[in-house]
Amino acid sequence: MSQFRSVNHPVRRVDAYEKVTGRAKYAADLRFDGMVWGKVLRSRYPHARIRSINAEKARSLPGVLAVLTAQDVPGAKTFGIVVPNQYLLADDRVRYLGDGVALVAAETESIAQAALALIEVEYEELPGVFDPLAALEKGAPTLHAEAPDNLAVHHHVQKGDLAAGMAEADLVLEREYRTQFIEHAYIEPEAVLALPTHPFGHYLTIYGSFQNIYNIRRSVAKVLALPLNRVRLVQATLGGSFGGKDEVMHAMAGRAALLAQATGRPVKMVNSREESILESYKRHPYILRYQAGVKKDGTISAMKIEVYADAGAYASMTPFVTWRSVVQATGPYQVPHVRTDIYGVYTNNTYTGAMRGFGSPQVCFANESFMDEIALELGMDPIEFRMKNALVDGSVTATGQVLNRHRVSLKEVLSQALEAVQYQDKVREYRRFNETNAEKKRGIGVAVSYRGVSLGGEGTDAAGAYVSVQQDGSVIIHSGLVEMGQGLRTIYTQIVAEELGISADRIVFLDTDTSVNLDSGPTVASRSTIMGGSAMKDAAGRLRLTIHGVAADKLEVAQDDLTGEAGIIYSRNNPEKKITFEEAVRHTALRGLRLTELGWYQGPKVSWDEEHGQGDAYFTYVYAANVAEVEVDAETGQVEVLRFTAAHDVGRAINPENVRGQIYGGVAMALGYGLLEEVEMDKGVTRNLNFDEYFVATTMDVPDIQAIIVENPDEFGPYGAKSVGEPTLEIGAPAIANAIAFATGKRLRELPMDLERVLLGHSLRERRTKRGSVER
């Protein structure tokens, strides 16, 4: 029996009814009277100077209401959260193919589309740079004045004495791994609807598919030269984001607002899938050079890591993404001597930014593949090798952090996953299978990870919550952190229900609105449950104190003797002494006490010393182990994932069904990362702009997934909860790579492990000349 009544139970999603009936309104579903359509003209070249723009013909097309260019931007020309170097509309230069050059507003979408073709832009094509290593060479074309070497960021980690560590080693191994551009592939393409300044309220309202709604507001206000209180963003139901509906939405919201101001009409913009893939940022491709010194007994003595991340045309989240990479690059192992360097480099490719995992999938792929390679060299079992070097309670991480505030459960999650799959039996079974089969080969592979929870040393980490009990005992809650499908509204509802001792169906979750909610920072870094959940618990807990105080008075019992359950507040010692929640609320209201609370939670202290590359990077960590079982067609290169097992320590599962859902979804995405997905950039030109050529795994590709929830409650999380969203996809690809290596004896060091790589060991690329034409 759980000690909880709402939390830790598989409560049904609070937003499911609207979604399963088709009533939920996503941004593209909204419409207003007098609404017009906005469209963006994007660049023709990955790198070019704009000589001139002539919009006369477009303006004179009947039905066109406005054609705008950079000179019509009233405020700042650029935006960006870390480095504000991204243009709302290209000024005199385009830096990648997705750059916006001009905007059109027209009575219909097809008129707007037709008008785009009438805008005459004279370009002078500039030499581009499309490879991060080439971009760092002297004399390479550059993108930004403030980065004459194309370097967007450089982070390092320095621990111990690398040379001494390598000298101690009996074996020094070096390998290079590469990862690819990945599209978020949320099924809902981006959309916004901007209403011009309210005639009485003097503020703009923008509805849209927003993830980080406060950051987006900041950019919109900046480019429109408005104070924050005059820009109101309302989140429409969000059809998936995965880190993706951030900067691309800064641009889209800013552009729609600009058009709304120019026309005085509500302006709707909806990206086609092709526009979405063309313009929106991707997960970074990394080049990862790993070197390790290992002793004969399997102890790692030193690691040296050098990583190059393709930032594409703009900084976006590259400085933070690469920071998580540099912290976690050595994986969940005890390594006494470490030097890691990571470089984020500008190129004329599509810019790269936040995507689920946020710098971990790349380093996990490299490191967990590398661990198997080292074990193989040593003639050691890869599990034994991992166990020997695994982080344990009290271990010191690569950044010098002592892990003594939480249970370091790496060995526990690994053991549970191995036990669930009967690992040793499978190893023997697949070896036997491979001895007798020539065409098909089977393999099993393991990967593990540790992951810092929430933002860590990236910056300020705090979140708020609003909980308001109505006079009839029903409850309204809202949050500045957003629902995007991950289940946040359900989790928060459960937490409030738990604290107040009522059922979840008495709680209504209000839509997210920047002018109403508490700015809680971005909904990223798997921080919603631990940060926002703690804030909800704070607010609801204070309301419970108020209401129980009144109840205690009425029942004439001590307040700490009271408990609430299923809408009844009663004495633990004498359950006959009870009062309904509504009744207690009514009395609380009659006494003039406050029935609304704002909750707040500030993340525990973290530290980061950028100069020395050391620090207590995150206040807590989660641990995971994944096991992939595959069958490889040795003659065609087809890989079938037969089974997948994922064990995750989540601290406490606020909603176990929801945690399993996160694991299943993360694993499917990891499978795509490992085997199927790649945005193909050909000299800055995106070649696959829709789902016919960008391959998201289907029902037929995803195997049965066994999700194992491990719970080691954390002192900082609400009810001990930590996080689950991102760790679920960071180690699927290396687990599959290790399984393929088991099956075929061939190590693949580049993603995706598609037909050609599996069969031939390298990729094949068609040389096409097709431009990335935007279709619709």
Partner: protein, 161 residues
């Protein structure tokens, strides 16, 4: 372009109107009938978010010209619930945690509905096949497949009572 007359049934109601000839069934349902439960995710028949049931079969409404639906019987997700009462399939989606961001959900539900109309007792592999034209980026499909299996079991158990 000449507007053309259209007559069809949508969610049990007969509709007679004039339409633009280059409208897709998807546009007609969303823009004219405001049935925005029908979603557009790719426009090329690859994601299944726009799936509706036309004459008993799941189709991508982005690949049907509205004129081709003349005389057809079309069912969208809005037509499943009766008087606010969810269909067993919809309820099963909720019960199994199969709804995450929800954008693929209407199409997914319609593909599953089309399957059950044709084959009331599909196997797990038949369910996976029937849903293979509907992409979902959130769920990894497991809870969705479980939801369809769940409704078969539930309906089976109810009818055995």
């Amino acid at each position: 372009m000449k507007s053309t007359p259209l007559r069809l049934r949508v969610n049990g109601k007969t509709i007679e109107t004039m339409v633009e000839p280059n409208q897709r069934l998807l546009d007609f349902l969303r823009d004219e009938l405001r049935l925005t439960g029908v979603k557009e995710g790719c426009g090329v028949g690859e994601c299944g978010a726009c799936t509706v049931i036309m004459n008993g079969q799941a189709v991508n409404s982005c690949l049907v010209l509205v004129g081709q639906a003349n005389g057809a019987d079309v069912l969208t997700v809005e037509g499943l619930a009766e008087d606010g009462e969810l269909s067993p399939l919809q309820q099963s989606f909720i019960d199994h945690g199969a709804v995450h961001c929800g954008f693929c959900t209407p199409g997914m539900v319609m593909s599953a509905q089309a399957l059950l109309m044709k084959n009331p007792k599909p196997s797990r592999s038949e369910i996976k096949t029937a849903l293979s034209g509907n992409l979902c980026r959130c769920t990894g499909y497991q809870q969705i497949v479980a939801a369809v299996e769940g409704v078969i079991k539930k309906v089976g158990a109810d009818s055995a009572k």
